[in-house]
Symmetry: C2
């Protein structure tokens, strides 16, 4: 026998391409097109890097406190991690430990089934409706836990807070995780409900609306009990996960609310304008409430458009997966970047049989 | 039934105290008493924080390349993570997946049994000899994997590279992980052996000899195959683990070898001098090759000394555990810090019955 027989074989998550070209337009990984608050750079420049010799605060207190104040919850209701993926992976390990299957939509964030497979957690996919909405009743049966993003990815489709609350209320015996990575772009967060439902975990990230994907910061909000269980798992893996720069810069980002609101507003404005332009070009799409648009073209296959765009260094996301293999997920960039996209599409579509439906 | 029944219950690792006092002397978590290379601060100040909006390079190429050049191995032989704890936890998950027990010493880094419990991996403790050395033959029987630190913690006892190689050679059917967190303070690394043994994983950290605990950087070196399996697990948990500042600063730290060598030399000099002073004070200890000394006093119980030191804001590490509950682990600080320690101990021991054995 060989050492390889013992190895945990997994099919890892495939992240979006990360090309490193000088002049590319990158609309493929839902990053923010604007830099983070200037307060972040200021905080970084004031940091004493001699302190790097010491372990960082394992409770990330300065960051947790700024979040507690911002969201008007207690520190005991907050857990932070190295991006929301870190937080979600730990939540899978901590809370989904039973024999009954965990439920999530058939079209959703493609990390969920990877975590389930890695940790040997059974799961069941609940098909979205034809118009990409979740069907509430699918989540009312026997299960070992529930997770979904709201708005959903890669569709951008938002469910109401009342809809989410119904699912949480109907499932007091399991943990319900709501992944709110994109909530700031037009949805209503269920974060205030954590005081009411002990089994609700709300996960957010600094990678999208706070323009800090490069700092790796995610957060979970939940009942004190839920957070304590998450902490136990975290302290069983790595005591010190968030480094000094992330803690310092993250805390400052939260404090600059004026910048944050303005940034979100700009992205939403560009998104709504982009919907009009895409419609004129013969695309149809969901009414996305995220920082991306999930679109399909009436005539040209998505894959073909994706490749044509790539040929001119415009990167959008294409998923070669059931149900969504004729769709593109287009991140909202700056107005200038979007204009370049539309200009190319106009030419390309007309060269390929006109822009009409 | 309640959602709590499904929760993965664990007893987390307990890190050393992290008091936040202005004037304390902190000799309890094996941090480096000196700041990192000035090149680290320089690199940080040159970093464009606008880039934080983007995801960091998930291969941490600049860091991996600097390590490859430094250790004269290929990039494919290197895996990096958020501190060596992150790397080790992933290695447990990736490589220790069988029914046979993983072997490690009975006195060792106290995270090993925590990871094993978390991931439901069976393990067996191999008792160290009376003089705290590993007994090679203990690791020659049937097992599901092997892990040990060299030098060992908290004893500081070093095994020779030939000793380690014997264990690796005798165990071709399992992965052998050598945790070299403290190797730079006097040991011979088995890193060059990775080209010879496909099943050898060597783990190192930036938290001790590189004075960067606050940046959270660890690395593993192994055969291309071993690293690929580790990558698969990593990309099944969190694609983007190491943030931009860590990558930039880590790469620079590796390049400044003159600073690194001088820093290690200073710590070793203080360690050897400290051994003499502790001996004069009635302590006995192993011949530590790490950045700490593992000491017991001839007359006064370790716990009592630990508490007396704490009373004057000098923090050392005390483990309330079998075999080592009469020992202190004292991190090597600056010469000034050590002098304060000795001065206090001198007074304290003489007030408690003289310094003699």
């Amino acid at each position: 026998m060989s050492w390889e027989e013992n190895v945990r074989k997994v099919v890892p998550y495939a992240a979006g391409e990360q090309p490193k070209k000088e002049k590319m337009i990158k609309l493929n990984t839902n990053e923010c097109p604007y830099p983070p608050s200037p307060m972040v750079a200021r905080a970084a420049s004031l940091m004493d890097l001699g302190d790097l010799r010491l372990y960082p605060d394992y409770n990330a207190e300065i960051l947790v406190e700024s979040l507690a104040e911002y969201h008007d919850v207690r520190r005991e209701n907050i857990f932070v991690g190295v991006g929301s993926d870190d937080v979600l992976a730990m939540a899978f390990l901590a809370f989904f430990d039973g024999d009954r299957p965990v439920l999530f939509p058939d079209v959703t964030y493609s990390f969920y089934d990877v975590w389930a497979d890695l940790y040997r957690i059974p799961y069941k996919l609940c098909p979205l409706s034809e118009d990409w909405h979740m069907r509430k009743e699918d989540y009312f049966g026997e299960n070992g836990g529930i997770i979904f993003p709201n708005p959903n990815a890669p569709t951008g489709v938002l469910e109401s807070a009342a809809f989410v609350e119904d699912i949480v209320r109907e499932n007091p015996d399991v943990v319900v995780i709501v992944d709110e990575a994109y909530i700031d772009f037009g949805g209503e967060s269920v974060l205030p409900l954590i005081n009411q439902y002990e089994n609700l975990l709300v996960v957010q990230t600094f990678s999208k609306s706070r323009a800090m994907a490069g700092a790796r910061i995610g957060a979970a909000f939940g009942s004190e009990k839920l957070i304590r269980y998450l902490d136990d798992v975290k302290f069983s893996i790595n005591s010190y996960t968030m480094n000094l720069p992330a803690q310092v810069m993250g805390a400052e980002a939260v404090k600059d609310d004026v910048y944050f609101r303005d940034l979100v507003k700009r992205i939403v404005r560009t998104r709504e304008y982009s919907k009009e332009r895409l419609k004129d070009l013969g695309f149809t799409f969901t009414d996305s409430m995220a920082n991306f648009i999930f679109a399909t073209h009436s005539r040209i296959p998505a894959k073909q458009i994706y490749e044509a765009l790539k040929g001119v260094d415009i990167y959008v996301r294409y998923f070669n997966k059931p149900r969504i293999d004729d769709y593109l997920r287009i991140t909202i960039g700056t107005d200038t970047e979007m204009e370049s996209l539309f200009t190319f599409l106009e030419k390309y579509l007309s060269a390929n049989g006109g822009n009409e439906n």
